[in-house]
Each structure stands twice: as C-alpha cells, then as structure tokens.
C-alpha cells in the first residue's frame, strides 16, 4: 500500500507541473468565469444557460484533462526510463499501475475541483441577478434543489472521469499515447451515444443482421457516459435522488475495476 501511495503522490506532483494541462485548466476556468456573458443568448432562461454552460465546461475540460493525463502517465515513465529504477525496487507492476492511476485521478479531481469552485463562485455571484432578470423562471428554478444538484452533477462528473482516466491509462499500456488518445476520445464520444447505438442495433429500426451484432455488441461493452450527465434534470429542476447517484457511482467503480484488471494483464506482459 505504501508503494502505491508513494507512486501516486509522485505522479500527482509531476502531473500538476505540466504546462499543457495547466493551460487546459486555465482555459476551462476562463470559460466558466465568463459563462454569464453568454446568457443573453437565451432571454428569459439566463440562469439555466449559466448552469448549462458551467457544468458543460467542467465536463468537457475535465474530459480533456482525464484523457491527456491518463495517456501520458505510463508512456512518459517508459520514455524517460524512470520506470526502470522504480521496477528495480520491490514494486510490483500492479502497484505501479495502480499508483500511476491514482496519482492521475487525483490530478483530474483537483482540476475538476478548481473548475467547480470557479463555477460555484460565478453561480453565487450571478444567480441572484439572473433570477431577478427572469422572475418568471420562478418556480422552475428552485434554489433549494439547485445547489445540491450542482454538487451532485460535479460528483457524477468525477465518476465519469474516473472511468475515462482508467480507459486512457490502460489504452496507453497497449498503444502509443497518440493512439491511446484517439481511442479514448472515440470511446468517450461513442459512449455518449449509447441510446443511439441501441437504436442502430434494433431490427425494428431497420438494422440488418450485421448492424444488429456490431452495434449491439458496442452498446453492451461500452460504458454509457450519458448516465453521468444530469444537466437535463437540473435544468428541469428535478430533485436528483441520492439513489441515482449511488447506482451510477457503483457502475463507475465496477467499470474502473474491470478496465484496470485488463490494463494489468496487458501491462504485466509488456517489456519495458
């Protein structure tokens, strides 16, 4: 456990110093910070627009950070040969992989937390003004539901990025980091369209046998990332139940465990 913790800590400190990632974070915070300036695009629904842009930006930039952190964690160690001195010590490959993953996840969560903080500040400053601008949004936007719902949305984004980071790390143990990035983006975007895949696989929608098999398999094996996006519920001001959160978080953890086990099997056989 100590080795995993030590490697995770070192990975976290290394990753925080990456200028490229800091650039993504700064850009994300700028978008979130200026999100209220776009609210004029939907007169009468400014507050909903603010929430939509803010949470959307956290998800989008979080996704970029999760992929770019994940795909570089292990290839960088191999390129710089720091992995040689690490694996020459009494450290198993499983400990190494898990340590790198946890360090990467800590980096992603830190970035999401910073973007979340920026959004909360913008929301606290701007929401009262925007509610006054559009008082008829009135009962549609309950401040009682909104605040906890925003917290839940950011929490679910973290679980979503947990899976994505695991996929990126594991892909980088098999492919080059460039290929691993493309692969991770592909999985993420296709995973956003799980319902569409189901329709494509459905004979009722005119799918032939090959389409039914291909899209059916994709539908079953890919993570359904759209379940982590609760913005629609928030914008309709539905209370997001804790049970939904528990259910989705549970699925995410199962996904991460499975993906990391596949990663371990690949990495354990890999010559470094």
């Amino acid at each position: 456990m100590s080795a995993i913790w030590r490697i995770a800590k070192a990975t976290f400190h290394e990753a925080l110093r990456r200028r490229f990632l800091n650039g993504i974070l700064i850009f994300g915070i700028l978008i979130i910070g200026s999100s209220w300036t776009f609210t004029y695009l939907q007169p009468g629904a400014e507050l909903k627009m603010l929430v939509d842009i803010g949470l959307g930006a956290i998800r989008f930039f979080g996704m970029l950070i999760a992929i770019f952190v994940g795909v570089r964690l292990i290839p960088d160690e191999i390129e710089k040969q720091t992995i040689h001195t690490l694996l020459a010590k009494p450290v198993t490959r499983a400990q190494f992989l898990l340590g790198k993953f946890l360090g990467g996840v800590a980096t992603v969560f830190t970035n999401v937390a910073l973007m979340g903080l920026a959004f909360v500040i913008v929301y606290m400053v701007k929401a009262p003004q925007l509610r006054e601008l559009a008082p008829d949004e009135g009962p549609g936007i309950s401040m009682v539901f909104m605040a906890p719902n925003i917290g839940k949305a950011i929490g679910l984004t973290c679980f979503e990025l947990l899976i994505l980071a695991a996929i990126a790390v594991v892909a980088s143990t098999i492919f080059s980091w460039v290929m691993a990035s493309i692969f991770s983006f592909f999985i993420y975007f296709v995973g956003q369209m799980a319902d569409f895949l189901r329709e494509l696989a459905s004979p009722e929608h005119g799918a032939d046998t090959a389409s039914t098999i291909v899209f059916g398999v994709l539908y079953r094996i890919l993570p359904h990332f759209e379940i982590f996006d609760i913005r629609e519920s928030i914008l309709k001001d539905n209370f997001v139940p804790w049970s939904l959160l528990g259910n989705v978080a549970g699925q995410a953890i199962i996904w991460v465990v499975v993906v990391l086990m596949i990663g371990y099997l690949c990495f354990n056989e890999r010559e470094v």
């Binding site: 040689h84 001195t85 020459a88 450290v91 198993t92």
Partner: protein, 292 residues
C-alpha cells in the same frame, strides 16, 4: 551492426559473491538487455535465471539489489534528499534510519552540499552521482550498474570507482555493464565480453589480460646494433621504450633462449614475463577486430 540492439542469443553467466563482474561489449551487443532481464523488465523467450536463488523478476531478491541506470532520469521536481527518501520508502525504509542513510550516501557521492537543488537543475554528472546514491539506498548485497561513470569528469569517475571498490571490499557483489574498457580494467575481478548477443570471452581479468596462449616478453638494456639486429630476427616484434628494448616471443622457451643469446652478446636482461594485454586489445580480438 553497431548501434543496432540485438537480442541475447546465448548468455550463461555465473557471478560469485564479493566480486566486481564486468560485462563489456560494443553498442547494441545486449548489455542493457541483460540488465533488464535481471531486473525483470524484459522476459526471456527461453532459458531462466536466478538472483540469490530466486527466479528473475520476483520481488524477493529486489529487496537485496540496487540498480544504477545509464543516462538516468528521475522525477525532476524533487531535490536529492526527497528523491532518495522516495526510493527508500519503496523499500519500507523511513525515520531516522533513512535520513542518516541519505546523508551518508549524499556525502559518499559528493552531493551533500548540493542536496537542496532540484533534479531539474542537475548536470549529467550530478545525475550519475545521484543515480549511484539511489542504487545504494537499501544497502544492497548486489549492485547492478549500467555505465556508472558515463557523463562524469575524470575526478568524478575516479570517485565512483573508489566507491565501487570500497563496496567490493565490504563484501558486496557488483555487476557492471560498460563499453568504457579503460574504466573496467582496473575495477573488475571477472569480465565477460558480449558480442551480438553471445558471450565470446569470459574469465578473470588476470587470465584475460595475461592471455592463454603463453606469449612472453623479454626486456633488455645495453644492446649494441649487432645484438639488436639479432634480437629482431629472434623475436616476433621489438619495441623500444627509452633505453630499453621489449621483445615479444611466442612462448617462454623462445624468450629464455633469446635472452641467453643476448646476455652472451653483452646485453643486460631486465626481465622476462608473460605478455600482458590491455582489456582493449583482448576486446578487439574477441569481437573480431575493428570493422573496416
């Protein structure tokens, strides 16, 4: 083939405890691959190996080994103390024991005064020194080192050599890979020469440098022109070194016979001894000469 790494085809080595064992070979001969095999970073397609009786790649022996990589890279946001603390913690070390070990090692490799500088700011030589320190953090019984003096200035190289010899005197076993033959010659007890993945020569340094073919040299002084002319006929080669002449013979008998003739001609015999080669000469012969 120079520079193109090859796989290891035939490698059978046994390293005794308390020795400095040198694995030398041209670039791409398989030296680094050998080290990677020993560390479990790559896997043999056939055959097996053991360190301290444990199969290659297992964690048990890694508690007792140290590794000094070539051209080392480390987490560069750390300073020397933090770096050694990190590696020490991977062995389960901590507290005062680790801190005093860190101080001892940084002084040993001449980095104590520069301990607060970040790895990012290190020169190649400083990295090499810190690489040796991290390799020794767990006080290993076996140290595996890949080109440990590469990138060091002459003083630094001598200091590292002294550290390695001190470790050998303490009973540690050291496995060195290098193509710096002049560095290896005074350092190693045994040497294996690796070429294109095959061990083509192995033995104690003394055996290798003395040669197995029984060649001898005789050294003379006070040779007149007639005697010198005659010596050139008897010997395979005659070189002058100051006021002395060194004549090479194919065996001890020829050397002795020539010596007695030269004494009869009034020359002074300084010594007759087995011909001693340099490791470089042995190496060039073992790898089939210098390519055109």
């Amino acid at each position: 083939m120079e520079g193109n790494p090859v796989g290891l085809i035939d490698l059978s080595l046994e390293v005794e405890e308390g020795q400095i064992f040198g694995l030398v070979g041209p670039n791409g001969s398989g030296k680094t691959t050998t080290l990677k095999l020993l560390l479990g970073l790559v896997f043999p397609t056939s055959g097996s190996g053991e360190i301290f009786g444990y199969p290659l790649g297992t964690l048990t022996y890694k508690q007792r080994i140290g590794f000094v990589p070539e051209g080392p890279y480390f987490y560069d946001h750390l300073n020397a103390v933090e770096l050694l603390r990190f590696y020490g913690s991977l062995f389960g070390m901590g507290g005062a024991e680790l801190e005093s070990r860190i101080e001892y090692l940084l002084k040993l490799v001449g980095m104590w005064q520069r301990r607060d500088r970040k790895v990012l700011d290190y020169s190649r030589g400083m990295l090499q020194r810190i690489a040796l320190a991290q390799g020794l953090i767990n006080d290993p019984d076996l140290l595996l080192a890949d080109e440990p003096t590469s990138g060091l200035d002459p003083i630094g190289a001598i200091q590292i050599r002294e550290v390695l010899m001190r470790l050998r005197d303490e009973g540690k076993t050291i496995f060195l890979c290098s193509h710096l033959l002049k560095e290896m010659e005074p350092l190693c007890d045994r040497v294996a020469i690796l070429n294109q993945g095959v061990v083509c020569h192995e033995g104690s340094m003394e055996e290798l440098l003395t040669g197995e073919d029984g060649r001898y040299v005789a050294t003379f002084r006070d040779l007149d022109q007639v005697a010198l002319q005659h010596l050139r006929v008897l010997a395979e080669r005659v070189d002058s070194e100051g006021d002395q002449y060194v004549a090479a013979f194919s065996d001890q008998q020829s050397a002795t016979a020539a010596a007695s003739e030269m004494i009869d001609k009034g020359a002074q015999l300084i010594k007759i001894s087995p011909q001693r080669l340099t490791l470089e000469e042995v190496f060039i012969e073992a790898v089939g000469g210098i390519p055109e």
